[in-house]
């Protein structure tokens, strides 16, 4: 008897990844476990390091804009937008106001489809596969609208230095408004399905806690920070594109849900409310869009000559669906930038995994890891070494563990 107790409390290590269950990107985790409870976590990114900044320092800014589109497929426009803003500040290029409004509309559409994508993935991790399919089906409407405006579902390639490449014509406006009405009608249903469901509340409430102080010290951003009560939103604090004319406030978990507690449930609330906010912003932009040019300079050689002469350094910052995305560029009179530093939004959020996962159970790992919406993809292999014998858990088994816990909780009510 005492021998069994001693065996149960021997700590063991669980390595997960790089092919991993909760995310679509490769990240290597190592969990120190005691029984079913996580004691500490360590992660090692770097599996998707393609040397983008180094490649960018050999190309000219127009070529880099096409490279930035493909830094991350889910955040379609944010990297191109922040890079273009940084270069425009250095070369002192004035972007026409109409281009600013079109950029804002695409930015908000990208936020809607990214949050719906995340809602589906989170539902899948909890065991609600039908909700996963429903959320992605609903997302197809915004993908159709994006394709109508830009020509592609992912990798929009609509941002050019000095403006945008395509305009929104008057016949496209009714289609966009139809799409917005569709989403407005659905929003109450989605809120009902996600937030009034007792099982989701049981699985997500009080799990994956990130306190206010931790969120500040570990530099968390985006919905992860807002769910913990830190009211930061680049659209509200540091105006860019058309946000200087609009009135956007950071979305915090409202008092009717208990105020900000910093758990997984709060992050779901923040993302759903942000979809509602995006719909309003797109409507406002469509109504008040000024007429005019969409590009500062249409002729490519002239643009490149201006960029070649530009000197200086600047920072471009936008609010991606996952937080703040920042690019630092320095140009010194050559065709290629002298320095280019990309800070993706998940870069800052990664450190918040450490306090969130302490004290949590093995079956909760997928949903907590996915709750900060990491822009990384993983497939998985989990090796569990328990008391001397080694076994292997596959992705299916880990997700099944998570789904079994849901069923157990339903039965114990």
């Amino acid at each position: 008897m005492s021998g069994d107790n001693v065996k149960k409390s021997i700590p063991y290590t669980v390595p997960i990844g790089p092919v991993h269950p909760a995310l679509k990107e490769p990240v290597m985790f190592t969990f120190q476990m005691e029984g079913e409870v996580v004691r500490s976590v360590d992660f090692a990114p770097g599996n998707t390091h393609r040397g983008i900044e180094w490649m960018g320092m050999r190309r000219n800014p127009v070529q880099i804009v096409h490279l930035t589109d493909r830094i991350c497929g889910i955040c379609g426009i944010v990297h191109s937008l922040s890079f273009a803003r940084a270069v425009e500040q250095i070369a002192e290029i004035e972007v026409p106001p109409r281009a600013d409004y079109i950029r804002t509309i695409m930015h908000e559409f990208e936020r809607i489809q990214s949050h719906l994508l995340w809602a589906g993935v989170a539902a899948h991790e909890l065991g609600f596969d039908s909700l996963f399919y429903l959320a992605w089906r609903v997302r197809e409407q915004s993908m159709d609208l994006i394709e109508n405006i830009t020509g592609n579902r992912v990798n929009y390639a609509i941002v050019q230095i000095g403006g945008v490449r395509r305009d929104i014509s008057d016949d496209q406006r009714p289609l966009i408004e139809q799409g917005l009405t569709y989403y407005r009608g659905l929003l109450d249903q989605m809120k009902n399905v996600f937030l009034n469901d007792s099982t989701i509340r049981m699985r997500c409430r009080d799990h994956g806690l990130l306190s206010y102080r931790d969120a500040q010290l570990l530099c968390a951003i985006g919905p992860t920070a807002r769910a913990s009560g830190v009211a930061m939103d680049v659209r509200h604090d540091y105006p860019y594109c058309a946000y200087g004319d609009l009135d956007v406030h950071p979305v915090l978990p409202p008092q009717e849900f208990g105020g900000p507690k910093g758990d997984v449930y709060d992050r779901i609330i923040v993302r759903l409310l942000e979809i509602a906010q995006s719909i309003d912003i797109i409507q406002q932009c469509l109504d008040t869009m000024p007429a005019g040019e969409i590009l500062w300079e249409k002729k490519m050689p002239k643009l490149l000559l201006t960029l070649k002469k530009a000197q200086g350094e600047a920072i471009g910052r936008v609010e991606a669906p996952r937080g703040e995305c920042m690019h630092y560029v320095r140009m010194d009179g050559n065709e290629a930038p002298a320095t280019w530093k990309v800070k993706a939004s998940s870069y800052s959020n990664l450190m918040s995994w450490i306090p969130m996962l302490k004290g949590e159970q093995l079956a909760d790992i997928p949903i907590i890891v996915a709750s900060i919406d990491p822009c990384m993809s993983c497939t998985d292999r989990v090796a569990v070494i328990q008391g001397g014998s080694a076994g292997f858990l596959t992705k299916e088994e880990l997700t099944r563990l998570s789904q079994k816990k849901t069923r157990r909780l339903i039965q114990c009510r």
């Binding site: 090692a44 990114p45 770097g46 390091h49 040397g51 900044e53 180094w54 320092m57 050999r58 190309r59 000219n60 070529q63 500040q89 972007v95 106001p97 600013d100 500040q216 010290l217 570990l218 530099c219 951003i221 830190v230 009211a231 930061m232 680049v234 509200h236 604090d237 540091y238 105006p239 860019y240 594109c241 058309a242 946000y243 200087g244 004319d245 950071p250 008040t288 000024p290 490519m300 050689p301 490149l304 000559l305 070649k308 600047a314 920072i315 910052r317 703040e324 920042m326 630092y328 320095r330 050559n334 065709e335 290629a336 002298a338 320095t339 530093k341 800070k343 870069y347 990664l350 450190m351």
Partner: protein
């Protein structure tokens, strides 16, 4: 959430100049406005000595807890310049601005103190600078490699522009792998694009079309 009053960019620069005096080598404000109303956003750029880095960040934390974004770096030949990019006064509408502390490290003495005791979230950025520039961050709690694979050769620092940077034989041209060599000759003689010179290429194509 704190009670400290809001300060304008010029006030912050004045506060720093009074406290640190000659340690502040250079300070300037840049601004930008976008949208129809051209609402302005500001950035502060301050250059300091290496020893003043931690006191300067501590002072910023007393003014209002900042948000640490990233550490950027430049290779300037004999020196490496590190830029600590932070932002302060988030939460106030249209009132946030970026504060950048720049410091120059001579290549003979590439050490810089860690700031993870003040802001723990800076750990990833410091690890990244260690492996990409070859600087040593003294006092860092965890100095392992972050993004580069473990078998990447030691002593090669990808972002440096001198002889320790990436050598041409380390670069793999993926588009040239298995490219067939027996294609028929193109009608316009193919000019191999030089990276970074599409101006000449654009002009070539235009004149090629007009002469037909």
């Amino acid at each position: 959430m704190s009670e400290t009053p809001y300060r304008s960019p010029q006030e912050i620069i004045d506060l720093y100049k009074t406290e640190f005096g000659a340690g502040i080598l250079d300070a300037r404000i840049t601004e930008r406005g976008e949208g129809v109303h051209r609402k302005k956003g500001y950035n502060i750029w301050i250059r300091l000595d290496r020893e003043l880095l931690k006191p300067a960040i501590k002072k910023l934390m007393d003014i209002r807890f900042p948000h640490f974004a990233v550490i950027a770096g430049n290779d300037l030949g004999d020196e490496i310049e590190l830029l600590y990019i932070l932002s302060v006064f988030y939460g106030t509408q249209f009132g946030e601005y970026m504060v950048t502390f720049g410091l120059r490290l001579p290549k003979s003495d590439l050490t810089v103190p860690t700031i993870t005791d003040l802001i723990p979230g800076a750990l990833l950025s410091e690890r990244e600078k260690q492996e990409f520039f070859g600087i040593t961050v003294t006092g860092i709690p965890d100095g392992r490699r972050l993004f580069l694979p473990d078998d990447f050769p030691q002593g090669v620092y990808p972002w440096r522009k001198d002889e320790t940077g990436i050598k041409p034989e380390m670069v793999r041209e993926l588009w040239a792998v298995n490219r067939p060599k027996d294609r028929p000759a193109p009608p316009v003689p193919e000019k191999k694009p030089v990276p970074g010179d599409p101006v000449a290429e654009g002009k070539e194509k235009k004149t090629g079309g007009a002469s037909e």
